[in-house]
């Protein structure tokens, strides 16, 4: 009887241990949200020890000048959107076509070499892409730019494009390869050309994998910080008029000033994180809605 009771106790103990470990994810999310939000929302309520700030001015403000007590992240939201959008417009078609090449058109030995190479490139830390952007892309942009510096929206878009390229390509290649062979054979047997088969049969069939790849790429582009800092220029305000203007993104704002910020400025960095958090959750919800809809079709 006692052996049995000990065994039951042991089973319960381990059950509890496993459950606790699994609940740690939930606890972490709650802790992160409480910590970031409690700091980040404080400046917008009265009785804040470092003075209050109008939440409307914060979200729509076009200048971030801590020395003048001005904290607007409106332009950073727009810049983040522009940079991500630009990277998607350039990167997704390029990645899609490259993936089609690797999966369907490349000679076998070439494809065999390219796929692991692309996967390896997806694992390169973003800082190294940033170094490349700093030393190659920014100077190249400067040579065609009307502005005296190569740090610009264009440089940011290019570096993000390069960075998300391998991520999307390797995901799309996998999903195209997963399309049943019979689809392709059926299409070819009906007299469709190879190109028609790829674009009318294979890609639609691989749609959900392609979307997953794009979502991963978007996630990497929005969250990217360190590589962007090196080529963005990080001005104190203003929406870019041309792609050659300097930009500051939500992510870079946090890292740039976290090292020395204090009091209200420090709280405002947490406020920036709150905006970034909501921004990303919003985009994730939209993307997963699109993905679900695409799955239904």
């Amino acid at each position: 009887m006692s052996v049995n009771r000990k065994r039951v106790w042991l089973e319960n103990f381990f059950h509890g241990l496993f459950l606790t470990a699994a609940m740690f994810a939930v606890i972490s999310v709650i802790a992160i949200i409480i910590m970031i939000f409690s700091r980040g929302l404080r400046p917008f309520f009265p009785n804040n020890e470092f003075g209050t700030y109008n939440v409307f001015n914060f979200v729509t403000g076009l200048n971030w000048r801590p020395n003048f007590g001005e904290f607007g992240v409106g332009y950073m939201i727009i810049n983040s959107l522009l940079a991500t959008l630009g990277a998607i417009i350039l990167g997704v078609p390029l990645a899609l076509l490259t993936a089609v090449f690797i999966a369907e058109m490349a000679p076998k030995p070439v494809a065999k070499l390219m796929q692991p190479a692309i996967e390896l490139l997806a694992a390169i830390p973003s800082v190294l892409y940033g170094v490349f952007g700093f030393a190659v892309i920014a100077p190249a942009v400067r040579s065609i730019s009307p502005n005296p510096t190569g740090d610009s929206l264009l440089s940011v878009i290019l570096i993000l494009t390069i960075m998300i390229l391998p991520t999307i390509v390797s995901m799309v290649v996998t999903s195209i390869r997963a399309v049943p062979k019979s689809y392709k054979e059926g299409s070819l047997a009906l007299g469709a050309s190879r190109i028609q088969t790829i674009f009318k049969v294979m890609l639609p069939a691989a749609k959900s994998g392609i979307l997953t790849g794009v979502i991963l790429g978007v996630g990497r582009a929005i969250g990217e910080t360190m590589a962007v800092i090196l080529v963005a220029g990080n001005p104190e305000g203003g929406i870019p008029n041309t792609i050659f203007d300097r930009v500051r993104l939500l992510t870079t704002n946090i890292v740039l000033e976290q090292g020395y910020a204090a009091e209200l400025q420090e709280q405002m960095l947490f406020s920036t994180a709150v905006v970034l958090f909501i921004f990303i959750m919003f985009i994730n919800v939209v993307l997963s809605k699109i993905q679900r809809k695409a799955g239904d079709l």
Partner: protein, 385 residues
Amino acid sequence: MINQKVKDSLVTSIIWLAALVAVSILIAVVAFIFSNGWSLLSRDFLMNHYEDSIRFVNFQSTQTYKLPFALEENSIFSEDLGMVLEQTEKGYHVSYIDDYSPVKAAVDNAGELFPVKVGYLIEEVNGQVINNQTIGQEVLARLSAEDNITIKVRMPGGGVFPMVVSTLILVVVTLLFAAPLGILAAIYLVEYAKQGPVVKTIRFATEILTGIPSVVYGLFGALMFVGVLGLGVSILSGALTMMILLLPVMMRTTEEALKTVPMSFREASYGLGANKIQTIYKVVLPSAMPGIMVGIILSIGRIVGESAALIFTIGTFAKLPVNPVNGNLSIFQTGATLTLRAFIEVKEFGNVEMACAIGIVILVIVFTLNTASRFFTRKFSKGNF
């Protein structure tokens, strides 16, 4: 029909072009890193400290030595010490040391063994300054004193040894937290949980964790671990931050691995009279091990490559994370990882060469991990079942 053919060949050429562009850009990135960093790379780069350091060491000459090879120009040989010094514009460098030379048994002022090595710069002998103006004969005369000789040596820096050590310690400490946590959590989800609100909440939480950008983890870590828990800017704070960041990856890969273990394995184990814990520990986990290894390897890659989550939790100082009081390595001290240092080199000093040299080291690590995970995946997919 002709129209279709023209269209097809046009699209085909566009695809070839796109692939060519994409591949050449990516090759350019890797080629850039290698071509810029290659010249800096050497054994010294990996083994030297970042900054020069200076020590005073003592030794005593007891016999005379012979040089086994011809002396080069600009070099002098001390018969009493069995040591060749080469004169450069910086001063006198040690370029050769006899196997039985007394400088190999030199002790520092604290009385600890501190052997002089090739590459060190000798700046003082018995309190008298030596620089590149000093004549060779004079240096030899000073080095051949009868009694105890004290010399001031400068160990050249310019290396990334502290960052290599910090990165290694960070990887080990992070995995000590993250791996058990992720594996235990995955065991719960696969072996215990029934569909319901608890599982839904956990899944939702991991999804949110996946979406949070690393800079927000960094902000959280700086507030929670550095500030509230009082761990300071240290390896431990960085490891705890990385633990949360890695949780979703560890959980998902382990879950996948556990799910591929056939139900019949568990049934057979139960049939033999084993209980649930024994089944998990002795049957399920060993079978899922290669898959779990893939998760751990992927996590190591993430730790090595991470920067935004670490910059304000682990710090950016290019020094070993040692306790200043007793000189031991400590996880409560600050130290930069390789990737962080590459960032700082470019951001603060515009030193692209150094960043690229560090980049090569990182690329080699990433490449090795990638190959290892491929190996485990292949082993896993062949499987023992």
